[in-house]
Structure formats: structure tokens, C-alpha cells
Symmetry: C2
Subunit: 194 residues, 2 copies
DNA sequence: AGTGGAAAGTTTACACTGTCAACATTGGGG
DNA sequence: CCCCAATGTTGACAGTGTAAACTTTCCACT
């Protein structure tokens, strides 16, 4: 269909897809170079030509994960919504993605498995962050007299939604009554748009 | 010195200590049953008698991690401090512990490595949560008309500090100006004690 | 057209892992 | 005193990632 530059088809993309499939089906434990290669019908050593090492392959998978993550955050964003509603929708998308893809989500934020020095991964991660950062413009959690109020608001929102998603995925919220992320965002901190 | 119920001394405790040492020195990757056993001078199969499997040993290590975690949160708690100051101190202890023991912190919240059905682990984790929950009594992030305001405040605080610690440990805050956790807690949401 | 070489994939080997079964050793309670 | 359960060892096994040597394919250049 697309390009076929060599004799067996579009590996690299097939390896990525197989990796994500195994990740969803069997979790991070079941994700091995040999399993991915086997699912693509190639030898266990073939992935090295495209990704160098397992770490490189996991980094590429995480990069694709951030792209889907950003898309999930954008899906609930209607044009007519208020900034508060858009923020709640983006955070809900963040948490929903983590819940729907727990192994991928865990991989995406694991310095143990991924190489955050990789430019592609860094760019994809920054793109996800930028979505929350953009929406949070005009909202303010600042204490009087402290600088960087915009940055601090962004860090607060990112930390809040990321911790919420992580703790829920780990099962630490199981004994508590359920509350969507919107019910945890303090209403009193919203500021009307100017 | 302590008790010596069998012919080689107090393994189990030695294995736990060796595991934590390796965790700090070499990270989660370097933590293997054989490495732990080797550091204690026993064969690679000895830990099975005390912990059953690697998962059991990691669960026990995480349990000890939660005990130290709770202690780190309590260290900054002075009796004379206001509730706001005590909250900020506990959260600072939470984040500092995560920064000082990144591998242990990662292990403690990894459903992949730990068995959260283990009663000891569950109790230790709940004890850590209870510290934040107790301090947050009297503080309120509730929207009017929603139930469970106490629970929601606790979830918000826990999510915020956990996400902050996790994202900072992953290096995702490296490009942003530094802000201690207290500068991210919104001041406007504090409520005076009654 | 034909050839050289780089890209893509295979094979083989190696060190390492966790788990298991069979075996050795020890120490304490009948 | 002696047996037995707890503790620890040995050896084997399937599985992992990595690396080197090898083979196959295809593209570019003369």
C-alpha cells in the first residue's frame, strides 16, 4: 500500500503495532523482543536493525503512546465550551486514556524503560503537556507575590491529573468512593476569562 | 545480636536490607534474586524459603519502603505548626522521599512488581495515606452540592503530591523552573481551622 | 546492463534471569 | 536420643537481550 523499500514489507511499523498489541494484551511483562518479532514472523534479532535495542523499541512505542495520549485529550474539546469545561474535558481524556491503556501509560512515564533523551519522544511528550498548558492559560492558582504563576498552575494541573491516573491504575483508590477528575478540581480556583 | 532461630543468622532481614541497598545503588534493573542472595552470601535459591518468589520479595521491600515513606512524611511535622504548615511539611516529605529513593518509590507503586493483595503491604500503604488524610481534615476543596468533600480533598492532595513526585522523578519537570510542592498548593483553598 | 555495497534478516552463541525438583544440613521438640 | 521440619544447596530448564558472523535482497552508479 504505502512504500515497500525492502524485501519483507514495512517492518518497523509492524513491530510497533505488534508491540502495542502485546502491551495491551499481556502487559509490560509479556512484552519481549522475541515475542514482538515472533508476532511479525521475523527472527528475534530483526528488530535491532530498526530500533537498536529493546530500549529503543520501547521508546518508539512510548512515542506513539504520547501521540494517542494527546489525541485522547483533544477528543472531548468542543469549540463552544468554556475554558473550565475544556480543561475538565482534557483532564478527563488524560485519565481515561490511562485507564484504558494502563501498560502503555506506565511505559510512557518510565525512565527505566524509555530514553527521554530521544528527540522524538521528548517532542511527543511536550506536545501532550502543551495541550494542558494551553488550556490552563488564564486560570490561576498563584499565591500572591510568587513568580511563575502560569508555570505553577500548569505543574499543579499536570501533577494532579497524572497522580490521579497513576494511583487509580495502581488500585490505590479502589477502597474509596469513585470521583471523576472534575470533582477533584477545586472550583474556587477558576478565574473568569478576561 | 538479635534472634538467630536457625543455622545461618537472620536472613529475611538481611535479604530485605540487601535488596534495598541494591535498589538504591543500581535501580530496579539491577535488582535480581541472584544479586540479592549473592550479597548475603547464600545461594540463589535461598530466598524462596522466606518469600516464595521474586514478587514476594519485592512486595516485602515495598512494604518496608512504605514504612520509611510514612516516617519521612512525619519528620517535618512540628507540634506547633498550623494545619497548613503541617500539610505542606508532610507533602514535602512525600516528595523528598520520592526524590531520594526513586527506585524504591517506583517499586512501591508498581502493580507489576508488587502484590497489593498482600495484607502487610496494604496496611503499610494505608498507613501512609492516613497521614495525609488526617492532616487534610478541616481543609476543603469541595464544590458546593457534591458529597464526600473530605474524601475528595484527600484524593486531590494525594494525587497532586504523587503526580508531582512521579513527574519530577521521570525528569518531565527538568525544563521547567523549580517549584517546591508548597508553591503549587493553591493558597486560596485553605480554610481556617474552626 | 552489470556490479559493488549497503540495508535487512537469519543464525548461533553467550551471559543472565526466575522457577523448580531433588538433595544436604542443621537444630529443636517429642 | 532421635526424628523431622525448617533452611540452604545444587543442578537443570525455559526464557530473556545482546552481539558477531553470515546470508539475502535491492538500489545506485558506472
Amino acid at each position: 500500500m504505502t512504500s515497500r523499500p525492502y524485501h519483507h514489507g514495512d517492518l518497523k511499523a509492524a513491530l510497533l503495532a505488534a508491540g502495542i498489541d502485546i502491551l495491551e494484551a499481556q502487559g509490560l511483562d509479556g512484552l519481549s523482543l522475541r515475542a514482538i518479532a515472533g508476532r511479525c514472523g521475523v527472527s528475534h534479532s530483526a528488530p535491532k536493525n530498526h530500533f537498536g535495542s529493546l530500549r529503543g523499541l520501547l521508546t518508539a512505542i512510548a512515542t506513539e503512546g504520547f501521540r494517542r495520549h494527546a489525541q485522547a485529550m483533544c477528543e472531548g474539546l468542543g469549540e463552544t465550551a468554556t475554558r473550565q469545561q475544556r480543561l475538565a474535558a482534557a483532564m478527563q481524556g488524560y485519565a481515561d486514556f490511562a485507564q484504558a491503556n494502563p501498560a502503555l501509560f506506565q511505559l510512557m512515564f518510565s525512565k527505566q524503560h524509555c530514553d527521554f533523551a530521544d528527540p522524538a519522544l521528548l517532542q511527543a511528550a511536550n506536545a501532550s503537556y502543551a495541550i494542558l498548558a494551553d488550556i490552563s492559560t488564564g486560570l490561576d492558582w498563584a499565591k500572591a507575590g510568587l513568580p511563575d504563576s502560569q508555570t505553577r498552575t500548569q505543574m499543579m494541573l499536570w501533577s494532579l491529573v497524572h497522580g490521579y491516573a497513576s494511583l487509580r491504575n495502581a488500585g490505590l483508590f479502589d477502597r474509596l468512593p469513585e470521583h471523576p477528575i472534575g470533582y477533584i478540581l477545586p472550583a474556587s480556583t477558576y478565574r473568569e476569562e478576561s
